[in-house]
């Protein structure tokens, strides 16, 4: 006969009375009792838990002390087992993480995959872990599916309430709530109604605001002091209730049942391998799984009935990352502050009950490890009596009012509120005290819960505006436990993170501190800090914004740092550093990989590759990687079919060439290849680019800039100027701006004399049909300053003429375009234009009246070709005496003509002559040079 026969009868009668017959209700009620009965009869002791439940943790501690099992089976991904040993090096809460970037067997583009399993101190699973790891002879076995299976089964697994987590209001909180990134969370003991209507119903009738409050009031408090059998039966009953009341459309049950089969299969396998006695084992799982009804559940089920599917070939990396209470709340959709409140409740309940919780040896943070209680002889497992009937029939025994505790809270909240800008006073503390008790009374409890206290504090202290960053509700959360942020200890860090910590040691910072730390690096006075500076720049490149931030100092090509100052928030970004550790063993290796990946991406352009080269030179130094990336840049450039990237390419290659020329005598081979390839590439694309409407003027300007400014280097490397000349001749643009660019290019190449260019412009200005388009030509000339800087006087001239002669309706609408073009696209050319304008226009108003623009001045009479008299003096004398050198040079250049007879100095040369006469030493020394040779 079943233990619960009486209860079953009672429930069936109730169902019949309620619905007038045997139907689904009676089936559910009787089924729930059966579920609990089946769990109790299982040979292996099942311990049902709920996440972040102090009652679960307390019951677990009591049971472990009492029973001392030799094997603990835990519902946690089996491949995370090695991480558990590292927990002792961390300050909780931390999260076990599995991370995969190189996917094999999952749809492409679904990575990177990340799974986190947070571990908090106030949890039953931590108690089990701490007991198992620190007790000799006890084995801890994780039995849940591997993280690989989490993703294999994910398409069927719907994101649960976690996806609908409450959004945090404050930026500070958001940052802490985002500690897990976008990882998928797994947790032991997910126990929550599976459909919204049931939860809404429970909240409504429980007269509470959110699920955490309901749980606290109806399960947590009554079970905190309950004996083990009551706890176990009540938890299993709740698990069974949620299991039976779930929507049929939900996909999760399939995954849950698959997991249950998996776990029981693993347990059976382990028992068979180790030969352990099931009576010495404890199986810790969520209450939902404790009442599993799959055929494979229980030790009595067939051993080979379930085949575990193989994992994919994806390579998983494992580590610990810091977590926080708010991150756990955000991940699993719990109310804000509920995990903190649970932690505070756990600490208090453990103290009140005189219980010594298990704690890993060497565990950081929190209170020091209490001395382990002397182990009592293991209690024998006795058949459980029916505790459910009593539990369900009697109202829960609620705690009495703890005046001291409430008074402490009231005083503290007022103090905290004052510090946060509220005009709170002692009178408010009294009011909060009174209101808390009244509210609790109204809600039917003698002892105000933290939620009652929170409501009372909001009522009495919160006024019409929030004076600071935090409102009273948030202050209450801080007061009642505050958000706790974990930290991964040095020994549990991956090699890369340890390396970073070691290398930053000379800076004498505390890498664990979560606040910003300012460091000053005087690199001249202490050259030993240069490696630290290098590392910080690399970290800045790799880590998210805000982790390391330079306040003073830059790192660019060709610059040598003298002093730097940094704001470091390494502690706050520990997760990012740990995740870098999944990519490599040193920061440099990760940086190299990232740069390589950047240039190998399918959408990479030559500009991206040059940027990567620049980053490699700046952050890593050395030529090896830069050369490799540069070669890739050459390939990318040759393969490009558009010139959209030309301005970027020109800017970067100019900078890199300047750097390499300053750094050493030889250019790297890839630079030479890039210039020759670029010369040929842009020559080829020039005619198309000039006629193609989709190619902008700026791009064509940059192409011409490349061709002209790299010309000497390209020609020296074997390129032919004829190719460029041909390309220009083949170009027949129609857009006015591009026409102007082409004219500028022809002028540069000597194909179009300046006078003719001027005449063409005059013609345009004189033609009333073309005048409206003239500003477009001007835009082209402005862009032409980049490839043909010598055109600056002419551009000033054309601009001046345009300002003088263009009608206002044409000129004025164009002016904003001119200004924005100059500011955005060619800011470096503005000084050239301004300088040229300064040279052209008079500096003062007085000169303006008499000023005639240079282009309107009558042309100076051409000097007779041979009219220039040869100046006299020792230099002339020297050249006349030794004419062979000059003759040879003249012959080389193909100049014909002979030496002019010295006619004596012209009158205008008298000044030079006088100068030489006053200081003869220089001329004498030069004259003496040949003699000395």
């Amino acid at each position: 006969m079943s233990t619960f026969e009486a209860l079953r009868g009672q429930l069936l009668d109730a169902a019949e009375a309620f619905s007038g017959g045997r139907d689904a209700l009676s089936e559910i009620l009787a089924g729930m009792v059966d579920d609990v009965d089946r769990m109790l009869r299982e040979e292996l002791e099942i311990f049902p838990v709920c996440h972040h439940s102090p009652a679960s943790a307390l019951a677990m501690t009591r049971r472990l002390r009492e029973r001392r099992p030799k094997v603990v089976y835990l519902e946690l991904c089996e491949d995370m087992r090695p991480l558990l040993d590292e927990l002792r090096n961390c300050r909780l809460p931390v999260a076990l993480q599995a991370f995969a970037t190189r996917l094999d067997g999952f749809p492409p583009g679904s990575g990177p995959l990340s799974v986190v399993a947070p571990v908090t101190e106030a949890s039953a699973e931590y108690q089990a872990i701490a007991y198992a790891l620190d007790t000799p002879g006890v084995e801890l076995v994780l039995v849940d599916r591997s993280v690989d299976h989490v993703f294999q089964w994910l398409p069927r697994e719907q994101a649960g309430p976690a996806a609908a987590g409450e959004s945090a209001d404050e930026p500070e909180q958001e940052e802490e709530a985002a500690l897990h990134g976008d990882a998928v969370g797994v947790e032991i003991g997910d126990l929550r109604p599976r459909f919204a209507e049931l939860e809404a119903h429970l909240l409504h009738h429980g007269k509470v605001r959110h699920w955490s409050e309901w749980w606290d009031q109806y399960v947590e408090q009554p079970l905190t002091g309950a004996d083990y059998d009551t706890y176990r039966q009540a938890m299993a009953l709740i698990g069974s209730l949620f299991r039976r009341l779930r929507p049929s459309s939900d996909d999760r049950p399939a995954v849950d049942e698959e997991r249950e089969r998996y776990m029981w299969t693993r347990i059976r396998e382990h028992l068979a391998e180790s030969g352990a006695d099931p009576a010495d084992c404890l199986y810790v799982c969520g209450a939902f799984h404790a009442v599993s009804r799959v055929a494979e559940s229980g030790l009595a089920a067939g051993a080979a009935s379930y085949a575990v599917t193989p994992r994919t070939a994806t390579r998983w990396l494992y580590g610990l990352i810091p977590s926080s209470h708010s991150a756990v709340e955000a991940q699993f959709g719990l109310a804000q502050g509920s995990v903190s409140i649970a932690a505070a409740t756990w600490a208090k309940a453990a103290e009140r009950g005189g219980l010594k919780p298990y704690r890993l040896q060497g565990q950081k943070g929190g209170r020091t490890r209490s001395k382990a209680a002397k182990p009592a002889p293991p209690a024998a497992r006795e058949p459980a009596a029916d505790r459910l009937s009593g539990f369900l029939a009697t109202p829960p025994e609620l705690d009495g009012l703890d005046e001291d505790e409430l008074r402490g809270w009231c005083v503290d909240i007022v103090r905290l509120a004052r510090r946060n800008g509220y005009l709170a006073s002692t009178a408010d503390a009294i009011a909060v005290f009174e209101t808390s008790i009244l509210l609790a009374g109204l809600r039917g409890r003698a002892r105000p819960t933290p939620y009652d206290f929170q409501d009372a504090a909001v009522t009495c202290i919160e006024k019409d505006v929030v004076p600071g960053r935090r409102d009273v509700r948030r202050l209450c959360e801080i007061l009642l436990g505050g958000d706790r942020i974990g930290q991964v200890g040095y020994d549990a860090l991956p090699p890369l993170a340890r390396d970073v910590y070691d290398r930053l040691e000379p800076l004498e910072i505390d890498p664990g501190r979560r606040t910003q730390q300012r460091v000053l690096l005087d690199l001249v006075a202490d050259p030993g800090l240069v490696p630290c500076s290098d590392l910080l720049w690399r970290l800045r490149y790799l880590l998210p914004d805000g982790a390391v931030r330079p306040i003073m100092g830059t790192r660019r090509l060709g610059e040598r740092p003298i002093q730097e100052s940094w704001d470091l928030a390494i502690g706050r970004h520990q997760r990012s550093i740990i995740e870098l550790g999944y990519e490599g063993v040193t920061v440099e290796q990760v940086l190299e990989q990232r740069l390589r990946r950047k240039v190998r991406e399918p959408r990479a352009t030559a500009g991206d590759a040059l940027a990567a080269v620049e980053d490699a030179v700046v952050y890593l130094g050395g030529r090896r990687l830069a050369d490799e990336l540069g070669e890739r840049a050459v390939e990318l450039l040759a393969a490009e079919r558009t010139v959209d990237d030309a301005p970027e390419v020109l800017r970067r290659i100019r900078r890199l060439l300047a750097h390499y020329r300053a750094a050493g005598p030889d250019l790297p081979a890839w630079c030479e290849a890039f210039v020759t390839a670029g010369y040929a590439h842009y020559c080829t694309l020039l005619p198309t680019a000039l006629t193609d409407d989709d190619t902008g003027v700026r791009q064509v300007g940059a192409m011409l800039g490349f061709l002209f400014s790299m010309e000497s280097l390209a020609l020296s490397l074997g390129c032919e100027r004829a190719q460029l000349e041909l390309a220009v001749r083949q170009s027949h643009p129609e857009a006015p701006a591009k026409v102007a660019l082409l004219w500028a290019a022809e002028t540069q190449l000597g194909l179009l004399p300046r006078q003719e260019l001027r005449a063409r412009c005059e013609e345009l200005l004189g033609n009333p049909l073309v005048v409206p388009a003239f500003p477009l030509y001007l835009s082209g000339f402005v862009q032409a300053l980049e490839p043909v800087p010598g055109l600056a006087p002419f551009v000033v001239e054309v601009l001046s003429k345009a300002f003088a002669r263009l009608p206002d309706p044409v000129l004025l609408p164009w002016l904003p375009t001119l200004i924005t073009t100059l500011r955005r696209q060619v800011p470096e050319l503005v000084p050239v234009l301004v300088r040229e304008a300064g040279r052209t226009f008079p500096g003062g108003l007085t000169e303006l009246d008499a000023w005639v623009p240079p282009w309107e001045r009558p042309a100076a009479p051409a000097r007779p070709a041979r009219g220039a008299p040869a100046p006299g003096g020792p230099v002339t004398g020297l050249l006349v005496r030794h004419p062979q050198a000059c003759d040879a040079v003249a012959a080389l250049l193909g100049c014909s003509g002979g030496w002019a007879a010295g006619d004596g100095p012209e009158p205008r040369d008298t000044q030079v002559k006088e100068l030489l006469a006053r200081h003869p030493a220089t001329a004498g020394a030069v004259a003496a040079l040949p003699a000395g040779l």
């Binding site: 109204l442 809600r443 409501d455 019409d464």
Partner: protein, 371 residues
């Protein structure tokens, strides 16, 4: 008696229900309260099966349970209660219900305006009696607040922030010392508040900055902020509840088609979303788009249909009432409504058809008439 009043106060309207609740109430009652806090909550929020009552108590105020609980415990404490929120969120209705439930008197009300003086809060004199008999308690006219003090009941102060700061500050001593001195009298010159006295004030959060409360007064009030109802289900419930009441008051028998209620709720939700994303005041309707506004629109439409229509509510009439209520500023509001009608209602009428088509037509006509 209710038949002789255009609008009966809550204690009159629900007198029978209050009597019944009082008869079964065995909970502890603070001061001279007529009902225990739990019964007050039950009266305001209505009963459920789980309460195990013999009769059903209908819900009268729709909103978060926590607001009502916080308000009740505030009144049981030493402080006044200030309900703050946007116009039309049900602050005054809640204040009235609480007063009615606690002391069966919700009519001791001072209306805060720019012209409210300290006399309205404390006392004034009947000039003719003063001339005839001199200053005495007999010739004194106590304010509603003073009457509430004398009787130990709840006094109400509507729109507290509309009155000037010096007038507001007259409440400080009333809330702290709980007495009012009458220096004009030589004897019997202090009115002490009896236990049970408290004040429920309401303030419009849109008036913030006009007459800000002093810090001293803020300290003496607990603030309960009532938010705008955003849940469509709750809003539908409120509109239905209030409209039924209005229909009863006007003795009109007219069915409220659920589709039209949906259209009204949806239109307000759309217009609220548009107002939330607007970047300047000109892009928002002047109306706060509160639930009370919806009730107003529906009331207009019902009255119009009843007296000028065929005694059935039509979508065209509803659209006309909506445009007429919301178009307050001639070019701006009409432009927004025009944009809404053509950008949202028109596509919806094409997609869903039915009542939306008539709604579109009615709105167009109303807008063109006003333009």
């Amino acid at each position: 008696m209710t038949n002789e009043m255009l609008r009966a106060p809550a204690e009159v309207k629900y007198a029978e229900e209050l009597d019944w609740l009082e008869s079964i109430d065995d909970g502890p009652k603070p001061f001279s309260w007529r009902l225990s806090p739990r019964m007050v909550r039950l009266f305001v929020l209505g009963s459920e099966r789980s309460d195990g009552l013999d009769r059903e108590i209908p819900q009268k105020w729709f909103g978060d349970r926590g607001f009502v609980e916080r308000s009740i415990v505030t009144l049981a404490s030493d402080r006044g209660l200030l309900l703050i929120g946007d116009p039309g969120t049900g602050k005054s209705w809640l204040a009235e219900l609480l007063s009615a439930a606690i002391c069966r008197n919700s009519t001791l009300v001072v209306q805060g305006t720019a012209g409210t003086t300290e006399d309205h809060i404390k006392y004034s004199w009947n000039v003719s009696t003063v001339i005839a008999k001199g200053q005495s308690r007999e010739s004194m006219i106590p304010s509603p607040i003073m009457t509430a003090m004398e009787q130990g009941v709840i006094g109400r102060f509507e729109e507290l922030t509309r009155s000037t700061s010096d007038v507001q500050d007259a409440l400080i001593s009333i809330l702290s010392e709980k007495y009012v001195s009458i220096p004009e009298l030589d004897t019997d010159n202090t009115v002490f508040a009896k236990p049970g006295f408290s004040i429920i004030a309401t303030a419009n959060s849109r008036d913030r900055g006009v007459n800000d409360l002093s810090s001293a007064l803020k300290r003496r009030f607990n603030f309960v902020r009532i938010p705008v109802v955003t849940s469509k289900a709750s809003e539908a419930e409120i509109v239905r509840f209030r409209t039924t009441e209005l229909l009863r008051r006007h003795r009109i028998e007219l069915d409220l088609p659920p589709t039209l209620l949906d259209i009204l709720l949806q239109s307000f939700a759309d217009l609220r979303a548009a107002a939330a994303s607007a970047t300047s005041e000109d892009e928002k309707l002047e109306s706060a788009l509160s639930t009370a506004e919806q009730i107003g629109v529906l009331e207009d439409a019902i009255l119009h249909s009843h007296f000028f229509g065929d005694r059935a509510l039509r979508a065209e009439t509803l659209a006309g009432a909506l445009v007429g209520s919301l178009a307050r500023r001639a070019p701006e509001d009409l432009a927004i409504l025009n944009k809404y009608w053509h950008g949202v209602v028109e596509p919806r009428s094409k997609k869903d058809g039915g009542e939306w088509t008539d709604f579109l037509e009615g709105g167009r006509q109303a807008i063109s008439t006003l333009s």
